[in-house]
């Protein structure tokens, strides 16, 4: 059986305009990479929104796979701006192959 190791998967929902700020922080934390996926619409305390890239109001998901320490370090760095920058962060354990890459 193929060997897997446990890593943390972190998922951050952010305004498109804030994506660069978040990925810069990921890079600085020393995490090896990230992946951005699109988001269509949502609802939160501030009401409903739809993707309206023309008006720059759309959001994206930023995913990154990291070791437990790097994940903790990233959460620590993002925590202060979560509310002011309207970010949503969740994380959970996943199994990966080729664990040395993350």
């Amino acid at each position: 059986m193929i060997e897997t190791v446990i890593r943390k998967r972190i998922e951050i929902l952010a305004d498109q305009a804030q994506a660069r700020r978040v990925t810069d922080i990921i890079d600085k934390t020393g995490i090896t990479g990230w992946t951005i996926t699109p988001v269509t619409s949502g609802k939160g305390r501030e009401g409903r929104w739809r993707e309206e890239r023309v008006m720059g109001t759309d959001k994206v998901f930023i995913l990154t796979i990291a070791s437990q320490e790097n994940a903790a370090a990233l959460a620590e760095k993002l925590a202060p701006i979560l509310t002011s920058h309207g970010l949503l962060l969740t994380m959970w354990d996943v199994e990966v192959i080729r664990g040395e890459r993350f």
Partner: protein
């Protein structure tokens, strides 16, 4: 703007969009198409402005018009800010963000006004496109200064912001296409005229259909709107439009160009400034600034204020009220 403008397909498609969204129809234009049309409109308007300048040359008023535009872009946010904080009861951050929108401009409002004034026999000068482009960014600067004072943010944030402000896509495309128009001139334009001129008004119809849909949907979802803000979103374009038009007449612009300057002052941004605010003032509430600029000021300008401004310009330049 009279009967003629209100029966123009351009305005009618906007109304159709408003009605369809208010009636809760699912009609929707794919976002990629809307963005594509927006880029097309900017490239076309820039190009056509440049061609006109290549044909007619520049008269002395162009520098005055540029200075008037940039000056207005820097100053309008200041009184807008006090109004928004006082009468509007907004927080400092939100008042600054909204003020920046009203100091900047809306390309589509301008384009619609050009179509209408041209129909009325008062086509604005080609260089007004350059005035428009130069008015996109100053208000963003003014808004950020109002929000944060001098010396805010770290170095990296400032760099990202400077880039966003100076090289924002609308400015680059408008000025770039304008320059291409100046270089290529009328005979270079001949080959691309069917695309950038022939189908222009039709594309504008579909784009305004989408704007109507978005504007109406946004106001139906709006939670943070108050009557005070609605009043301000109508008052500001009236005041700014009158000031801009008078300024235009004072510096010697022709009727159409003075009215166009009035429309630029009256219009509020809903593309470039929101993008900059998302980046630089993420704490500000888009539910306020987008709803005001897009759902109140934009329809008010398209349906009513463009006509008022045109009449004012005609009156001030002694041409009497333009025939409908």
């Amino acid at each position: 703007m009279g009967i003629q403008a209100l029966t123009s397909p351009v305005v009618l498609f906007f109304v159709l969009g408003l009605l369809a969204a208010f009636a809760r129809s699912d009609l929707e234009i794919p976002e990629a198409i809307a963005k594509g049309m927006s880029l097309y409109l900017m490239a076309a308007i820039g190009l056509k402005g440049g061609i006109e300048v290549a044909e007619s040359g520049l008269d002395g008023t162009v520098l005055a018009a540029l200075a008037a535009g940039v000056g207005a872009g820097l100053l309008m946010p200041v009184y807008a800010y006090w109004l928004l904080k006082g009468l509007g009861r907004l927080s400092r951050i939100n008042a600054s963000a909204v003020a920046a929108h009203y100091g900047s401009i809306s390309v589509v409002t301008f384009v619609t006004a050009v179509e209408i004034y041209t129909l009325q026999g008062n086509p604005p000068q080609g260089y007004m496109v350059a005035v428009m482009a130069s008015m996109e960014s100053p208000a963003i600067l003014a808004g950020l200064l109002l929000a944060r004072g001098l010396g805010s943010g770290d170095a990296q944030d400032r760099k990202a912001l400077a880039q966003e402000v100076l090289l924002n896509p609308s400015v680059v495309l408008l000025l770039g296409a304008f320059a291409i128009g100046v270089i290529a001139g009328p005979q270079g334009f001949a080959d691309v005229r069917p695309f950038f001129d022939g189908i222009f008004k039709g594309v504008l119809c579909l784009f305004l259909l989408d704007m109507g849909l978005i504007a109406a949907r946004r106001i139906m979802d709006a939670r943070a709107m108050t009557w005070r803000l609605v009043i301000i979103a109508i008052l500001l374009p009236l005041v700014n439009g009158a000031i801009g038009t008078s300024l235009g007449v004072a510096i010697g612009l022709d009727t159409g160009s003075a009215a166009a300057l009035g429309v630029l002052c009256a219009s509020a941004s809903y593309i470039a400034v929101p993008a900059a605010m998302r980046l630089a003032l993420p704490e500000a509430d888009p539910g306020i600034y987008l709803t005001m600029s897009l759902s109140i000021t934009f329809p008010f300008n398209v349906l009513i204020n463009i006509g008022l401004i045109g009449s004012l310009a005609a009156y001030l330049t002694g041409g009497g009220v333009a025939a409908p």
